[in-house]
Amino acid sequence: MELLVFAGLALVAAVAGLLVIVQRHAVYSALFLIITMGSLAGIYILLDAHFVWVIQVIVYAGAIMVLFLFVIMLLDIRSEPAPWAPPDRGRILIAVLLSVVLLAELGVAVARRFVLAPAGGPAVASSFGRTQTVGRLLFTDFLFPFEITSIILLVAMVGAMVLAKKRLH
């Protein structure tokens, strides 16, 4: 049962992810990206990671994608879909390189799981992804990376504001 649900969610996520890049229309791409995020959230429920699930919905589906849509609509890209141009060589090279790296990474992960340790990787604790667990980890073991991340985000925000201000005056 669990496997079936997982397979369904994974399929939806993969297909929607594919549709994101196939769409000519930016708004449709954004919508399919939301569906991908939603199925990922569903996978978190399967893991019993309630906190991660709800944060995934609020932050990615609820906030970031709304901003994406907001920008797309503000720029009003609807009238002319991007004209198709034959991709140049450099871009193809980069794409192939990245795909190879990604595939290799995937292969390693699958090999680790099924060939090197067929009994299954490290057991997932039952409290994985619950509010208390995430909170405790964030404020003990991962306190330093957590604070560094927030500082980086703050710097990025200030940078964006400075750039926008310069254009205004």
Binding site: V27, A63, V66, L69, M73
Partner: protein, 340 residues
């Protein structure tokens, strides 16, 4: 197993039915209350005191011609009303509307009066609310109408801006309870608190978190696009905003979503700040409903009293007033919670 399933289905049915009925009759209450405030009579023709008016309105909307303008983005235009109404109703799945009950001894085991109690209840409601934006934004965009697009954009900007102080205003309560489950939050408000050692007040978070409640209420008005924050549908400048091009039941769905959202934020405020179902003598659901309707009355009162904000006033109020105040409230509560 079978009994649990039946009880579950009955609960879902009751909550859904009650919600639909409240949505329908909120329109009647709103018209009557505003009529009273403006010294008019309001609906009087259909049924005694116009009580059948919502049903007549519903039937009328159902039989209206369903227009779809020719240049709209069809798929999204049809999808948007559902995207707006589903999150509005889903949020109610975690709201506890009463204490456990055996229904006067009818049931063998006491049944808790909420559909489900998950350990991230508060966040679930916020998550559903944040998804409700899509209906409005996409309706505005797909209508292929400048007024609709502006309405949709305004709405998304407003919702993103007010989600932050709204989330922060609740953090104070969460710090005091130490749980995100709505049932735990209600249970933490049982008993009596003493103000200055002499004045007995209910141990509701309204009294220990007054600032948090005020911020939450302002944000709730903004999040539900209610006056004085109803800029997304400002008639004088945007015709009707994001739903200008909608007619018949599709229009009705936006309307129902707005009222369902109102009920949800009122129910969440009741749960977080007004002690939820807690209260003496009367059965717990009665207390819950009473508090929710009191808040809904406040919503209508605000609408009848306050003029609409200007757009820059709206943004300034959210980012420069409510957000710092909510941060201050969080900081003070955290200090008190740690030291006390």
């Amino acid at each position: 197993m079978l009994e649990t399933l039946i009880v579950m289905l009955v609960k879902i049915g009751v909550v859904f039915g009650a919600l639909l009925l409240t949505v329908a009759y909120m329109t009647w209450i709103e018209r009557k209350v505003i009529a009273d405030i403006q010294v008019r009579l309001g609906p009087t023709r259909v049924g005694p005191y116009g009580l059948l008016q919502p049903i007549a309105d519903g039937l009328k909307l159902m039989f209206k011609e369903d227009l779809i303008p020719s240049q709209v983005d069809r798929a999204i235009f049809l999808l948007a009303p559902s995207l707006s109404i589903i999150p509005a109703f889903i949020a109610f799945a975690v709201i506890p509307f009463g204490d456990s009950t055996t229904l006067f001894g009818l049931l063998s085991r006491p049944v808790p009066l909420h559909i489900t109690d998950i350990d991230v209840g508060v966040l679930f409601v916020f998550g559903a609310a944040s998804l409700g934006v899509y209906g409005i934004v996409l309706a505005g965009w797909s209508s292929n109408n400048k007024y609709s697009l502006l309405g949709g954009l305004r709405s998304s900007a407003q919702l993103i801006s007010y989600e932050l102080p709204m989330g922060l205003s609740v953090v104070g309560v969460l710090l005091l309870v130490g749980s995100l489950s709505l049932v735990d939050i209600v249970k933490a408000q049982a008993g009596v608190a003493w103000w200055f050692g002499i004045l007995p007040v209910p141990n509701w978070f309204l009294f220990s978190q007054p600032l948090g409640f005020c911020i939450y209420f302002c944000c709730a008005l903004a999040e539900t696009n209610r006056a004085p924050f109803d800029l997304p549908e400002a008639e004088t400048e945007l015709v009707a905003g994001f739903h200008t091009e909608y007619s018949s039941m599709k229009f009705a769905m936006f309307f129902m979503a707005e009222y369902a959202n109102m009920i949800t934020v009122a129910a969440l405020a009741t749960t977080l700040f007004l002690g939820g179902w807690l209260g003496p003598i009367a059965p717990s659901p009665v207390w819950f409903l009473g508090k929710v309707f009191l808040l809904l009355f406040l919503f209508i009162w605000f609408r009848a009293t306050l003029p609409r904000f200007r757009y820059d006033q709206l943004m300034n109020f959210g980012w420069k007033r409510l957000l710092p105040l909510a941060l201050l409230n969080t900081a003070i509560t955290a200090i008190v919670a740690v030291r006390g």
